[in-house]
Subunit: 202 residues, 2 copies
């Protein structure tokens, strides 16, 4: 949909399905930067920034509404509240990327997995998908490997260990939290960075 290096004139708001933004290295390895779930912007940065610096593709069948770049830029002069909402979305995106950075830099494979699944759960709850016992998740273990900076084989082992440990079960398109308190503890997860209350309550 959005390819690295292209100049794009618009972004999208994801209405249905999951997408992923990623970069491909010269040697063909992929690092997924983040997933987008319903309600998220796709390619917001490619509007504010001259060139999109990563690619986006669909993980499932998706539905999205196009948002013209010009409309967003106009909002900055004519609709300050709307502009603030867009900025909030962009800032939240960056906060998540920063958290992923910490994840990759300083957490073990198990901790990363726990943190990632808890973040997804929080984000999905906000749009009414899943509940505190788990959530539907169309990702493959290859997706998990590429977002967590691990090999797919190691992802599989980590998932088995966590399942055997009674922490969380990732299977057949669904994530089930078997002991969410211990999972939170393991991940050191704190939702503050997600700023869940949003820009409208400021």
């Amino acid at each position: 949909m959005i390819h690295e290096g292209e100049s794009n004139a618009s972004a999208f708001i994801l209405a249905e399905g999951w997408a992923l933004s990623f970069k491909i290295l010269p040697d063909g390895e992929r690092q997924i930067v983040d997933f987008q779930v319903p309600g998220d912007f796709l390619g917001l940065r490619s509007i504010l920034f001259r060139t999109s610096d990563h690619s986006v593709e669909a993980a499932t069948r998706i539905e999205a509404s196009e948002v013209l770049a010009s409309d967003i830029l106009d909002a900055f002069s004519h609709a300050p509240r709307l502009a603030a909402a867009v900025l909030w979305a962009a800032s939240r995106d960056e906060a998540m990327v920063v958290e992923h950075l910490v994840n990759l830099g300083r957490r073990s494979a198990e901790e990363r997995m726990a943190h990632f699944l808890l973040e997804l759960s929080s984000r999905l709850l906000l749009v009414g998908m899943g509940d505190k016992t788990g959530f539907p998740c169309p990702l493959t273990q290859y997706h998990l490997a590429d977002v967590l900076g691990l090999s797919a084989v190691h992802v599989n082992r980590v998932l088995r260990i966590m399942r055997d440990d009674g922490l969380v079960t990732f299977r057949k398109g669904h994530v089930t939290f078997d002991d969410i308190d211990r999972l939170r503890d393991l991940a050191g997860f704190d939702t503050a960075y997600l700023d869940q209350d949003g820009p409208l309550l400021r």
Copy 2:
């Protein structure tokens, strides 16, 4: 200066010296998100976002000019060109964070080091510090470890290997590129994500 969790009403533009933004994990480990060099914003996100989600501290003695949050937010309605410049800065920050993410997720210790030093060099060149043969660098090996997601011991070994290999020398506050072409090759470094030309030429 800026502490995680506090609500801040202003940001700064760094005039002199180096700073770092980082997060501390519950177990005391530190992940440096990025360094700021002269010309960079400090705490820009804490204006756009309700809570600053990371801390900032000085790496050297620094001089910075305060920028009031209200002035920046006003700019969005009254000075679109200025607002665009601020957005450009914020987007460039995020592009760098994304690149660091890829660094941590999918590159080896040597590749990370090469990439990081080349990025710093590019950014410093833009503000007239250093040249293509190297640049002054007040960072310690502990700083490198915490930004690259490595242990300080391993950073030391990697630096020695790269020095023995005739790639780059990191010593006594100065980085010297001994073979910048091979270094670029090793890192797969491409400046595109830095969008060096800036927002004014759009």
